[in-house]
């Protein structure tokens, strides 16, 4: 294993220290792996806090999205491991006031349980908390029921909408409604060209053949729906978008935003080529692509490959998408 790290056991803390060293908009709690937006007003004057988090290894998620107009706090677990309830609770306490907190959770058991319990404990302390679970991965649509779909890269569109809504001073109820509606309007799916290597393990989780790719895998390297031979960017993009279409989530005259996400070691050249294919496919089927971004937004350590996320939008949602944010990892333009 060749990785730019100091010690497998300190990667998460080292990484978070790096993130906040570079970001004027975020600070790191001394005793928990929790990154908080800097310069928050005192508790009583705070808007609704928007929190997210989960296992590490998905950088720039989630700490990179902390900043005005997006996340108020991000809670980081060990690599691919949910943060403890304590850490989540510390995050809620440090970022939320009487206006309450919205907690955005990707649909994994550990995350749901730890964020869920923390929310309950926070409520017992008098902090209003709402939870939104994101389950945007359509890959396993024929394999598992909808409520057991995984949460993947589209999650950060939910962060953006919720963060923008909170920044406007809306109530917790309203912010939660907007986040839930974003999560419902969201579909994602990934394709990997190889596995990823956990720092503490030192070798890849699985090995794909010279020409083999895995379709529909999860962001921790979980099994996808099938393996196949590498195909052109146009073909792979069509495969993903057709799956979303078949799930009933994409049709002529839809208005969408598109996220082309690199899984960790995909070069920008390839992401731009995929983006071109995806935009062309969508426009070809009569869908209006209102905004589109390509980059590494939610990774799976050093996995090569990409995911596409498509979210339906109306003018109101677009305004939240376009609202300014100080989060370092949110892309420009679109």
């Amino acid at each position: 294993m060749k990785k730019l790290i100091n010690d497998p056991s300190t990667v998460v803390r080292d990484m978070l220290e790096g993130v906040v060293a570079l970001s004027p908009s975020a600070v790191l709690l001394a005793d928990e792996n929790v990154v908080i937006r800097s310069g928050l007003p005192e508790s009583g004057a705070r808007k609704v806090a928007v929190l997210s988090g989960g296992g590490s290894g998905h950088e720039p998620a989630h700490a990179g999205y902390v900043g005005g107009g997006m996340l108020t706090a991000a809670v980081a677990g060990d690599v691919f491991t949910s943060p403890s309830t304590d850490a989540v609770l510390a995050g809620i306490r440090a970022s939320a006031g009487p206006a309450g907190a919205l907690v955005i959770v990707k649909n994994y058991t550990g995350d749901r349980l730890n964020f869920g319990l923390a929310a309950e404990l926070a409520r017992a302390e008098g902090i209003p908390v709402e939870i939104v679970v994101v389950a945007d991965d359509v890959a396993l649509k024929d394999t598992v029921p909808a409520e057991r779909r995984r949460g993947i890269a589209g999650t950060l569109l939910v962060h953006k909408l919720a963060g923008a809504a909170a920044e406007q001073g809306l109530s917790l109820e309203e912010v939660a409604r907007i986040a839930r509606s974003a999560a419902e309007n969201l579909s994602s799916m990934g394709i990997s060209l190889g596995s990823c290597t956990l720092p503490s393990v030192g070798k890849p989780g699985y090995v794909l053949g010279e020409q083999e790719i895995e379709v529909g895998l999860g962001i921790h390297g979980e099994q996808g729906v099938r393996r196949m031979s590498i195909a052109s960017a146009d073909e792979l993009t069509a495969l993903v978008l057709q799956t979303i279409e078949a799930d009933g989530k994409l049709k002529r005259d839809d208005r969408v935003v598109l996220l082309v996400n690199g899984l960790g070691s995909t070069p920008p050249m390839e992401l731009s080529i995929v983006a071109r294919s995806a935009v062309a496919y969508l426009e070809g089927m009569g869908v209006t692509v209102e905004r589109a971004w390509a980059g590494t937004f939610l990774s799976a350590l050093d996995m090569p490959g990409f995911s596409l996320s498509v979210m339906h939008v109306d003018d109101k949602a677009l305004a939240f998408v376009d609202a300014p944010t100080g989060a370092g990892a949110w892309p420009r333009g679109g």
Binding site: G55, G77, D78, F80, T81, S82, P83, S84, T85, D86, A87, L89, T109, G110, D111, L113, N114, G116, L117, L140, T143, V144, R148, G218, E222, Q223
Partner: protein, 212 residues
């Protein structure tokens, strides 16, 4: 009297931690077949955290409920595996049901087992047959309830509870996982016992051996 009961309960957690330590690798192995292979580690971390939290408690002054809620908070220091919030919630519910009680009689034990099972069910939203630790805690709690209703002796009470737990753990091998990581494997989980159920049976066996 209160002193003794609180100490007894604290000793129960110490013994649990020892048993988990001894079976750590085996539990991780079971999790390797259906999950991510860390169940032994997460349980070990969790129960170590519990015993060290309890070490900070003045057991001469503490109530049964204090011990249970300290154990619950301790478990929350565990790394963020599924088991952390599940057991923490179970122990919190147990602390609630033990409030104001100072004796670990069979009725208290029944209520404690039931509270743990209910806490896990509530937190994890699993049902019986979902191939989880619940398939051990639920039948164990039901056996305890039946044993008290039939006025069984202490020995028979614990025998019934332990047997229910062991049967429940064994049965998970014939189930298809629908909760937790193993759920992604579905059919592939058939034939393998659930690691969380296995550790739950170990915990219950430990309680039974103490014959409160």
């Amino acid at each position: 009297m209160s002193e003794t009961a609180a100490r007894t309960l604290a000793r129960m957690f110490e013994r649990m931690s020892e048993v988990i330590e001894a079976e750590k690798d085996h539990l991780s192995e079971l999790d390797g077949a259906v999950g991510d292979g860390d169940h032994g580690i997460t349980m070990s971390i969790g129960f170590k955290a519990v015993t060290s939290a309890l070490a900070g408690l003045d057991l001469d002054e503490a109530s049964l409920s204090d011990v249970m809620s300290t154990a619950a908070s301790g478990f929350l220091d565990a790394v963020g595996a599924s088991t952390g919030p599940l057991y923490a919630t179970g122990f919190r519910r147990a602390a609630r049901v033990l409030t104001g009680r100072d004796r670990l009689d069979l009725a208290a034990c029944r209520d404690m087992l039931t509270a743990i099972a209910e806490g896990i069910r509530e937190r994890g939203k699993a049902q019986r047959g979902d191939k989880t630790m619940l398939d051990v805690w639920l039948p164990a709690a039901e056996a305890a309830t039946a044993a008290v209703a039939h006025n069984l002796s202490k020995q028979d009470f614990w025998k019934a509870v332990e047997t229910a737990a062991e049967n429940g753990a064994a049965a998970t091998a014939t189930m298809i996982a629908t909760k937790g990581r193993a759920a992604r494997l579905r059919e592939r989980s058939l034939g393998h016992p659930d690691p969380g159920a296995a550790s739950a049976a170990l915990l219950i066996k430990t309680i039974a051996s103490l014959q409160f």
